[in-house]
């Protein structure tokens, strides 16, 4: 542990253990490190391949789970790097730098935590749920349709929303609509005078905006986990910034990925102009 109490970061040569699909386009990669790892839900690792003429930069993947020296990641192929990761087979080497970034906090007191996950934004919130989830907390996951949902990873407490009611298994329920709409419908309005809860969201930008709006309508704080292209992943290159409300630039890799949505300049985020 470092002086700040977060798990210390390690750079290691890891070995792929397994790499298998859990939905139409989500895969889980498990790697083995030389020793056990500690992490906090919301943290990520930079993965890359040995060899200077492979990827110039690693790929940031959110940590789904750790068991001893085994670390798993949930990811989707979106480009050259993730395509290369998707081709990793058991026994092949992969470089690991992590855990990195600011995590979601552990729950405090009795106040309820509402998790809103969209698509490949699931791993930090699923990791949080598995470590901290309590009776008063609520977990929502949204996807395009049933084929996009990694059913085997989600216990029945997760409420599923889909854009289209296709590919749904007979044994599981899902609502049609946006994940934020399902959440509002299920939870209703908070009781007057009740202790405010906390919304924690990770997913596509429109979903993060909707989550922020939902939390604001309840006068709850909202934490979002943001995604940006990264260079170093460990805070030195300043390549992965997003606009802060105070005019500063926030790094997704070090200030984030988990940020209080109140510190983000949402008008500029995702379409920052010169």
């Amino acid at each position: 542990m470092t002086s700040t109490g977060s798990p210390s970061c390690r750079r290691s040569l890891a070995t792929a253990v397994s790499n298998h699909p859990v939905s139409r386009d989500l895969k889980v990669l498990e790697v083995r490190l030389p020793g056990p790892l500690d992490f906090r839900p919301g943290q990520f690792a930079m993965l890359n391949f040995p060899g200077p003429h492979e990827l110039v930069f690693g790929r940031p993947l959110s940590i789904l789970a750790v068991q001893g020296d085994r670390v798993s990641f949930l990811y989707r192929v979106v480009g050259r790097g993730t395509a290369q990761l998707a081709s990793l087979r058991s026994g092949e080497p992969v470089t690991f730098l992590g855990p990195l970034g600011t995590p979601f906090p552990a729950p405090g007191g009795r106040r309820p935590v509402v998790l809103l996950a969209g698509g490949v934004g699931l791993p930090p919130l699923l990791a949080w749920w598995q470590r901290y989830g309590r009776e008063q907390d609520h977990a929502f996951f949204g996807a395009r349709d049933g084929g996009d949902v990694p059913w085997e990873l989600l216990d029945p407490a997760w409420q599923i929303s889909v854009d289209r009611p296709a590919g749904l298994p007979a044994t599981r329920q899902a609502e049609v609509g946006l994940v934020t709409e399902t959440c509002r419908r299920r939870l209703g309005e908070p009781q007057a005078g009740a202790e405010p809860g906390l919304v924690q969201a990770c997913g596509p930008l429109p979903m993060l905006r909707a989550a922020t709006t939902l939390a604001a309508s309840w006068q709850w704080p909202c934490l979002v986990s943001v995604e940006e292209h990264m260079g170093c992943g460990y805070g030195v290159c300043r390549g992965c910034v997003l606009p802060g409300r105070d005019g500063s630039h926030l790094t997704a890799c070090q200030d984030g990925p988990v940020l209080d949505s109140a510190v983000i300049d949402w008008e500029s985020f995702g379409g920052e102009k010169t």
């Binding site: 470092t2 700040t4 210390s8 970061c9 390690r10 750079r11 290691s12 040569l13 030389p34 890359n48 391949f49 040995p50 060899g51 200077p52 003429h53 492979e54 990827l55 110039v56 930069f57 690693g58 790097g81 026994g91 092949e92 080497p93 470089t95 730098l97 940006e228 292209h229 990264m230 260079g231 170093c232 460990y234 805070g235 030195v236 290159c237 300043r238 390549g239 992965c240 910034v241 997003l242 005019g247 500063s248 630039h249 920052e272 102009k273 010169t274």
Partner: protein
């Protein structure tokens, strides 16, 4: 397994222990031994390049399989470039990965010189990280003012070894690249800083975005530089085919990474052959073999840039790998 060429040329740090790299017979210098650069003795010859390792790792720690810290064996950390006032830097996107390099347009984002002197340098001094302070300005006389302030604030900081004048950042509209391609301004900038630096080393970082680089090295020498750092990034552009527009908001950025190695080697060779000034080589170094090629041409030290962003132990691995074999 991935199909990868074998051999030292392609061994990327630090996936193989340093002992696996065998130095050629002609290499007899210990890069972790102190060496003289102008008025200053530097603790080693493998440095990290400006902009690629922050201001060092202030505030967090990283351990590796083979090294306790990324600082092990490093001769210097060249800081992210500091400007007289803080800069927010350029809008996103700032970084584009390409097949053999990266295009960046960070825009000299930095905490500002005052904050660096008050907060960052003392933290580096506490950890005894060997530091070269990179600075940029828009007028030659500002380099003199910054050098004076640094000398006043850090005269007692023994791990501060020198300054590197960034005369070549292509990502800011004023100063920067245009500045550094004119030999007269190069001389003026170096001459402005020199009188204030005492026994600290003064380096000028040169732009490769010129027809001939040697005249710039000569201009730096004439101004009183102890060494030149060569090369900075090359101006490049990438197009987004969906929109049909350049990806970077400012159109061009600085191209770095493995693709720069042969270009850097040619430019360093030109300087070594034409100008009597020590060269600290930077450009495309990712492996011990890459660094050795620059040393073979006569570089006195090397800096690891983009590879350090990829792997915080890249420079430490090179420093460990280049210890010559005992005969």
């Amino acid at each position: 397994m991935n199909e990868r060429p074998s051999g030292s040329d392609h061994t990327f740090p630090p996936d193989s222990p340093a002992s696996e790299f065998s130095c050629p017979q002609w290499w007899q210098i210990d890069p972790q031994a102190p060496f003289q650069l102008g008025p200053r003795q530097l603790p080693g010859r493998i440095w990290t390049a400006s902009g690629c390792f922050g201001y060092g790792l202030t505030g967090h720690e990283i351990t590796g399989d083979d090294h306790a810290s990324p600082y092990v064996g490093l001769g210097a950390v060249v800081t992210k470039t500091l400007t007289p006032e803080p800069r927010a830097g350029n809008p996103m996107p700032r970084l584009v990965e390409l097949p053999v390099g990266a295009l960046n347009s960070i825009g000299l984002e930095n905490v500002g010189f005052g904050h660096f002197l008050d907060e960052v340098l003392p933290a580096l001094a506490k950890q005894q990280v060997p530091v070269i302070v990179s600075m940029a300005a828009t007028r030659p006389e500002q380099f003199g003012v910054m050098a004076m302030r640094l000398q006043q604030a850090a005269a007692d900081v023994s791990c501060w070894h020198g300054v590197e004048l960034n005369l070549s950042c292509p990502n800011i509209a004023e100063g920067g690249h245009d500045f550094g391609s004119n030999p007269d301004t190069v001389t003026a900038c170096v001459a402005a800083a020199r009188p204030h630096l005492g026994d600290r080393a003064l380096l000028a970082k040169l732009t490769p975005n010129v027809t001939r680089i040697a005249p710039l090295a000569e201009a730096a020498r004439a101004g009183g530089a102890d060494a030149v750092s060569a090369i900075n990034t090359m101006v490049g552009l990438e197009v987004d085919l969906v929109s049909g527009r350049p990806i970077l908001p400012r159109r061009t950025g600085g191209y770095s990474g493995p693709a720069l190695l042969p270009i850097g080697l040619a430019m360093v060779d030109a300087i070594v052959r034409e100008v009597a000034i020590p060269v600290v080589a930077v450009g495309g170094i990712a492996t011990p073999a890459d660094a050795l090629k620059y040393f073979a041409l006569g570089a006195v030290a090397v800096q690891v840039g983009t590879a350090q962003m990829r792997d915080p132990f890249a420079a430490a691995h090179i420093a460990a790998s280049l210890r010559p074999a005992r005969r």
